[in-house]
Point group: C2
Chain length 119, copies 2
DNA sequence: ATTATAGTTGAGCACTTGTTCAACTGTCAA
DNA sequence: TTGACAGTTGAACAAGTGCTCAACTATAAT
């Protein structure tokens, strides 16, 4: 009898059991994929890359990426909510910076991967 | 006069120019964000994590993740197209394996980030 | 106070994406 | 060769996502 939610038996029960036992708490794996999802948008990854070079204000980011302030601001909010960037106001400008060194590391690994794949 | 595609001036032209000069070819940054996008789905990240533990066939993955073979197969195709997994047939089973060590590294960095953020 | 510019926000809309469903191929066993 | 099961595929649909637009707040200059 196939499993309730699937349409097949477990064929290699030993492997499945072993992997299932090692499986991290679902929440953590979900949070990791959420992190990737947030980084997996063209606009947001460009913003993160830019902020890794320099802190920048919304307007400069908009100019750099040829987008409206509104569009940038919406994406910055998503990055703020995920604690990937911080901001501080200086007069009329709001400057954003990366909030986490890991982001830089994750980016570097992804670059390595992509560059190697292209060769 | 505001920029054609934005609604503001460049406020800190020096910063924008410097960052723009360092900007990697658009294509590479796009490919990096595509990689994150692919890893940024709950199902796919679970599959990648599982394959990092052991090579597995479609049915076992379906059982492990409580999903249908079809749903798993669709996601495996996306991972195959991105060259993140390879497969080989053995009789009626098709076994999948990770195609790249970088995936493991990227995952590890992302785990570090997530675990630290939780503290 | 008024004006101008930086930035934020919510609603709306077009587009994308993941799963389901049904039909299909591939391999093995009887 | 027929049946059973592993796996793939395309269409369809529901849910999610990113940008636009317009209205808003905040700060500074006149």
């Amino acid at each position: 009898m196939a499993h309730k939610d699937t349409d097949c038996e477990i064929i290699h029960a030993d492997v499945v059991d072993r992997v299932r036992a090692k499986m991290p708490k679902d929440m953590i794996l979900n949070e990791v994929s959420t992190l990737f999802k947030i980084m997996g948008d063209k606009t947001r990854s460009h913003i993160l890359w830019a902020l890794d070079q320099n802190e920048m204000c919304v307007c400069d980011l908009a100019a750099l990426l040829n987008m409206t302030k509104s569009a940038i601001s919406h994406q910055l909010r998503i990055l703020r909510d995920a604690h990937l960037v911080r901001f501080h106001r200086e007069g009329k400008n709001v400057f954003y910076v990366l909030d986490d060194d890991h982001v830089k590391n994750i980016f570097e690994k992804a670059f390595e991967h992509t560059v190697e794949k292209k060769q």
